[in-house]
């Protein structure tokens, strides 16, 4: 194999934009991330290294405007047939350098997909929000404020719980929604976000999809408070904290679509989240492969390069093999999402799409955690050394496995679909 670019990809259906797009991002990674990423761990609170890198990407390269319609100063990616493919490529290339950075970037776009991606484009809201992202030379970050203190992943379990456990409320007063609630742990909280996407309920305890509402809430609005970020095992470029909404008043058209459709669009978010997840995992695995390649070529056991020992080759061959398999699966997820509007596609909110997407994410993140751990072991006493850049990925990718409802929810959703379970 000549380079990691030979890991399987469906070359016959990749958009011609993908190659130059990857090249730009890869270049940014080499220049802005690789030289500094070993300092990220200590930078978790300040983001002295992290923020400038992010700014060069989002403002300098313009990534923060990518989803907005061209009419409002964006790139119009929300209307592209290759949205998922390019998003995936972006996630993977970024995560090769740092998965948390990739996460922070995707999470910022994530909430915006609710009203910027066809067939769910809300042009009035797009026009209202666009200037924050497109007409600026400042970094502008969005945060999908989903999880609540009680119940963790319950909010993602729309299939069963249908929003019933939501405690963040929205009350309509004339032309204004009044929002109250408490959110925990979302990516890009902890003081980073300029804008929040907030799932809430207009009727607490209800499981009627019409009572589910999704609001866009600018961070500078009165009544919005953010905590300091938490300290974590890794993923330093992603700040997580608490957010309180205390009688926050937003214009009524900041609700992204309205009764029924909000819930449907929210389910679609899950698919995008899963797509990002496999992208991050793949990027990390690919970088680990690069490092491992050099390591097993230059270091020896029994005075032969590690890779020339049949038994060690068996171990690393399995690692590389799993990467190839995961790549194939990840692109299948890309295909599922990009074909949502096409003859052989399914709606993103369909049971089939969500179950299969969760299944792929569960699988890929498991393989990632397992294989990066194994790569550390192959490197023995050097495995845990930050200078090798593998242990950092090990600490980062664990989080991928845990979020969006984690393994248990993935398993439950798969079982529900494949076996038509009724009470899970």
């Amino acid at each position: 194999m000549k380079s990691f670019d030979e890991f399987s990809r469906p070359l016959d259906r990749i958009s011609p934009m993908e190659k130059p797009f990857r090249a730009v991002i890869r270049n940014w990674v080499e220049e802005e991330v690789m030289p500094y990423r070993r300092e990220y761990d200590e930078d978790w609170k300040e983001h002295r290294f992290i923020e400038p890198a992010m700014e060069k990407l989002c403002v300098g390269l313009g990534i923060q405007k990518c989803l907005f319609p061209k009419a409002f100063g964006g790139w119009g990616l929300g209307e592209s047939d290759s949205l998922a493919a390019l998003t995936y490529a972006l996630c993977e290339e970024m995560a090769r350098g740092d998965s948390a950075l990739s996460l922070a970037n995707l999470a910022s776009l994530w909430s915006l997909t609710t009203f910027l991606v066809k067939p769910n484009i809300n042009r009035r809201l797009a026009k209202e929000i666009a200037p924050m992202f497109c007409d600026t030379d400042k970094l502008c970050i969005c945060c999908q404020a989903m999880t609540e203190p009680q119940g963790g992943a319950d909010i993602e379990n729309m299939g069963l719980l249908k929003g019933r456990t939501l405690r963040t409320t929205a009350r309509l007063e004339g032309d204004v929604w009044v929002i109250n609630g408490h959110k925990l742990w979302p990516t890009n909280s902890g003081g980073t976000a300029n804008l929040f996407g907030v799932p809430c309920t207009t009727n607490p305890g209800s499981s009627d999809p019409d009572d589910f509402a999704y609001m866009m809430v600018p961070a500078h609005f009165k009544g919005v408070t953010q905590s300091e970020p938490y300290h974590k095992a890794g993923m330093a470029a992603d700040k997580n904290g608490e957010i309180w909404f205390d009688n926050v008043r937003v214009p009524s058209w900041y609700r992204i679509h309205g009764p029924g459709k909000d819930a449907d669009v929210f389910k679609q978010l899950i698919s995008f989240g899963l797509l990002g997840s496999v992208g991050f995992a793949m990027g990390a695995m690919i970088n680990v492969y690069e490092i491992l390649y050099d390591f097993v070529s230059g270091n020896t056991y029994a005075n032969k390069p590690l890779k020339e020992n049949d038994a060690i080759a068996g171990v690393i061959g399995r690692i590389a093999g799993d990467i190839d398999i995961s790549r194939i699966l990840s692109y299948e997820l890309v295909r599922m999402i990009d074909s949502r509007e096409k003859p052989f596609g399914n709606p993103l909110s369909s049971e089939e799409t969500i179950a299969k997407a969760r299944n792929i994410k569960d699988f890929v993140s498991d393989r990632t955690v397992e294989n990066i751990g194994k790569a550390m072991d192959v490197m023995g006493v050097y495995g845990s050394d930050r200078i090798m850049d593998v242990e950092k990925h090990y600490r980062d990718v664990k989080m991928i496995q845990l979020w969006l409802g984690g393994k248990q929810l993935c398993q439950a959703e798969a079982a529900r679909y494949f076996f038509n379970c009724e009470t899970l």
Binding site: K232, N299, T300, Y301, N309, G373, D377, G380, G383, Y394
Partner: protein, 413 residues
């Protein structure tokens, strides 16, 4: 956790003596008071509190120098039959902080080859014990054979490159080696224990006081876990050693591997005990699907059972291994090829079980498992660091090939 954690595991209770239980109980008191009760502060001001906690353990309880002979100033737990005591103590320490457990595990490992009956060497004990019987915190560093560099033919110890060399002339020995990576504590070790090769390319073990001339310590390594244990690469440049500091006894190097695997098994099992308490408490409070306790959901309960299962197996294997050290007549000698192979095999299984137990715990606790304040992620980082350290070049492969050589007479591998 409502129950006493020791009551949750099945193993022959007679393997743990009353004396052991008493000492373990006082270590548990230390752990609860000095670490677990202060967990949040301890996390936030780690370096300082780590050192304070270590001091109390080392001197108030006496864990430093514990296994040195009494007449060298130690506590005299230096018989093979004390192996179960050592792992019991390491478990209790590591339940609170695996880093402190790790420091002691290295110390006990190194002492095992010259301070323990029947291989006790009074001369060496007399020289090296005082270092550890003073009231200053001391660490020991261990340098094992490992990776070679492509294009260089090194002397081998069971396939692993031995990159430190010892030359003997008259009554003096000279140790050399560059960029050697210790298992731990290289940055501040008061004593280095180095597997090196002699003029005939045979393995021997050098004990090198940390203040010897010719030692260079590289920069402190930033690493996954074991935050308090500062490691660094080491150069030895013609370090002079008295002849008695070099142990040429046949198979001493093998014993080091066996003991290291046993004692680090104790550390990781201890960390898992801490994990079990945390996840047990958490799953009895956490509500899911808007109504049930997490522990009462079958899927989560099955994950909890997994966590317990891995820990219980690790616990049982560790105690079996300790028992084998304590009863060489029954099991075979710790320097025998079989025990050398099997201790690595069981040691690896224990680490695998420990990592799996913690991984499963994190899957259940999600962000709470990943955030520093939850107390789980530190254990996860610590145990992973230990697991990788124990792996040879190429991960699990060297230990497997050792087994194949011993059991199947595999040659040329």
């Amino acid at each position: 956790m409502k129950k006493d954690i020791n009551q949750l595991f099945v193993y022959p209770k007679s393997w743990v003596s009353t004396e052991t239980k008493e000492i373990a109980a006082s270590v548990r008191q230390w752990a609860n008071k000095e670490v677990i009760a202060k967990r949040i502060d301890y996390q936030e001001d780690y370096k300082k509190l780590f050192s304070e906690a270590r001091k109390k353990l080392a001197f108030d309880i006496g864990c430093q120098g514990l296994m040195l002979p009494e007449d060298s100033g130690g506590f005299g737990f230096n018989r093979l039959t004390d192996a179960p005591l050592l792992i019991s103590i390491l478990k209790e320490i590591s339940r609170a902080d695996a880093g402190i457990g790790f420091v002691h595990a290295l110390e006990y490992t190194v002492f095992s080859i010259f301070a323990i009956e029947p291989v006790m060497n009074p001369e060496l004990c007399g020289k090296l014990a005082p270092l550890f019987c003073s009231k200053t915190l001391k660490t020991v560093s261990l340098i094992l054979p490992g990776f070679g560099k492509k294009g260089i033919d090194d002397p081998l110890f069971e396939g692993r490159s031995v990159r430190a060399r010892i030359q003997t002339a008259d009554e003096k020995c000279m140790l050399s080696g560059r960029d050697l990576r210790p298992i731990g504590c290289g940055a501040d070790a008061a004593l280095f224990c180095v597997i090196c090769s002699d003029a005939n390319e045979q393995p021997c073990v050098a004990l090198v006081p940390g203040d010897s001339a010719g030692i260079t310590r590289h920069e402190t390594i930033r690493k996954t876990g074991l935050d308090g244990c500062d490691n660094a690469d080491i150069d030895f440049e013609n370090v002079q050693l008295p002849k008695e500091n070099v142990i040429t006894r046949n198979r001493a190097a093998y014993e080091l591997y066996a003991w290291l695997n046993l004692l680090l098994a104790g550390v990781s099992v201890g960390a898992c005990m801490g994990i079990l308490e945390i996840v047990s408490a958490w799953s009895g409070k956490r509500i899911i699907k808007g109504k049930n306790l997490l522990k009462d959901n079958p899927l989560c309960a099955a994950v909890l059972a997994d966590v317990y299962e891995e820990i219980a197996i690790a616990w049982l294997l560790t105690h079996n291994l300790a028992n084998s050290f304590a009863n060489p007549g029954e099991w075979g000698n710790s320097s025998s090829p079989l025990i050398f192979s099997v201790s690595q095999m069981l040691g690896r299984r224990v680490q695998e079980s420990a990592i799996r137990a913690i991984n499963r715990t994190m899957e259940l606790m999600a962000s709470e498992g990943y955030a520093t304040e939850g107390g789980v992620e530190k254990m996860w980082r610590d145990v992973k660091t230990i697991q990788s350290c124990l792996c040879g070049p190429g991960g699990e492969v060297p230990t497997k090939l050792d087994v194949a050589k011993c059991i199947f007479d595999s040659q040329t591998i």
